[in-house]
């Protein structure tokens, strides 16, 4: 039977997660539907809610650190997305429980914060029984996943001066992101693209120059198009997808240079 474990320290949680069949639980909005729909029975559910540091929000001069229990709807993160907040992400009630770190490391559902976190230069602090605490890039974690037994404790984000995340979804709310492009201006920031439903997000290389300049739209669009071609084989990129991504890139650049700053 699955055990419920409530560690009060990171070290105790790491010990519990040394069992590869144990699963960490932060908000639970990804884990519980997985348990309900699959009937899977992990050896243990390691709840992080009693770890005081997991709720920490640290604002530094050039960044933001969010503990593993900090929700997507937290004002420190939600404010990045303008008046509507992260309104595109699930429902208001789910946003109050689903965590930023949990979405990034989840093996169980679409990781739709991926483009945002990569664009904001996110680093994830991990710890496992096999390795000392250290930082991994969000891009690496999204691509490779966490090593077995590793616990994601914290995410560190650069503080963007401006950020825009444009998406193509069947609906504007509660809908899977099919194609998404996020770009941010600020130290350590950049752009990231997701071009398949529930797929990985990819950093757009060489986007910085066009991104930072108000008159750099054409260069930015070219780097995004190049990034799409680099991330996917040409067989997967139809004219429709390239047209869509081009339009997103134009809008994101316009947002950044003609929209509101944070």
């Amino acid at each position: 039977m699955t055990a419920d474990i409530h560690p009060t320290s990171w070290s105790r949680a790491v010990d519990e997660l040394a069992d590869p069949a144990a699963v960490a639980v932060a908000g639970g909005t990804g884990v519980q539907p997985w348990l309900t729909t699959t009937g899977d029975t992990p050896s243990a559910l390691v709840h992080l809610r009693d770890i005081r540091e997991a709720w920490d929000v640290e604002t530094t001069t050039d960044g933001l650190r969010l503990g593993a229990m900090v929700a997507v709807g937290h004002s420190a993160f939600d404010a990045w997305f303008g008046d509507d907040g992260a309104g595109w992400f699930a429902t208001p009630a789910v946003r109050r429980r689903a965590t930023v770190v949990g979405n990034l490391v989840s093996r169980l559902g679409p990781r739709e914060l991926g483009p945002v976190l990569i664009a904001a230069g996110a680093q994830i602090r991990t710890w496992s029984s096999a390795a000392e605490p250290g930082w991994r890039s969000a891009e690496h974690v999204l691509r490779e996943g966490l090593p077995n037994g590793a616990l994601a404790m914290q995410v560190e984000l650069c503080r963007p001066e401006r950020i825009s995340y444009r998406r193509v979804s069947p609906r504007s709310r509660m809908s899977r992101v099919e194609v998404g492009l996020c770009a941010a201006i600020g130290p350590g920031c950049g752009a990231a693209l997701m071009a398949e439903t529930g797929g990985h997000a990819h950093r757009v290389d060489d986007a910085d120059a066009g991104l930072a300049r108000p008159n750099g739209r054409a260069d930015f669009v070219a780097s995004v198009r190049h990034g799409l071609a680099a991330a996917f084989s040409s067989n997967d990129i139809g004219d429709e997808l390239m047209t869509m991504v081009t339009a997103l890139a134009e809008r994101v650049h316009d947002d950044l240079h003609h929209g509101k700053s944070l």
Binding site: A3, D4, V25, V31, A90, T91, P92
Partner: protein
């Protein structure tokens, strides 16, 4: 070690391990709201967990240890229920328990700030509550009317 949670003011034992959700716990206790999608999107099973609306289907039972849970039985605002009835905002009733929990919470929150909810705020809250009968308009009207009635200096909402 067994643990418990408070549901509508009464102690309810939580399962000693397993993969149950909060909804399963409420079902076992005989106070479960309707079970809808099971993924947190339809809002039918919404309850208050420590004073905040949450779909009980996506909350692991182990995550409500020592928490305070309120179902529609104790989270509801009577004035809102009356207004929903007056506006004809309930048809099949499947979505109503969860929706009333969320809207009661929001109306109370706005009243505490001495202001009334706007149409836009109510519609945003309803993003997490699927209703296939009413078309939402009557629900929005009932909620904003209730919200206005609870504040003495309610702003006038343009028609």
């Amino acid at each position: 070690m067994t643990s418990s949670t408070r549901v509508d003011g009464a102690d309810v034992q939580l399962p000693d391990g397993g993969t149950a959700s909060l909804w399963n716990v409420l079902d076992e206790a005989g106070v479960a709201p309707p079970f809808g999608c099971g993924t947190g999107h339809c809002g039918a099973c919404t309850v208050l967990v420590d004073g905040v609306p949450a779909p009980s289907c996506v909350v692991p039972a182990g995550a409500v240890r020592r928490a305070e849970v309120n179902t529609v039985s104790t989270a509801v605002l009577d004035e809102l229920v009356d207004a929903l009835a007056v506006e004809g905002a309930v048809q099949c009733g499947f979505c109503s328990p969860g929706m009333v929990v969320t809207l009661s919470w929001a109306v109370r929150g706005a009243a505490a700030q001495e202001r009334a909810l706007t149409d836009a705020e109510v519609r945003e809250l309803l993003v997490g509550h699927l209703c296939r009968c009413t078309g939402y308009q009557a629900i929005v009207a009932a909620t904003t009317a209730t919200s206005r009635s609870l504040v003495s200096t309610a702003p006038i909402t343009p028609a």
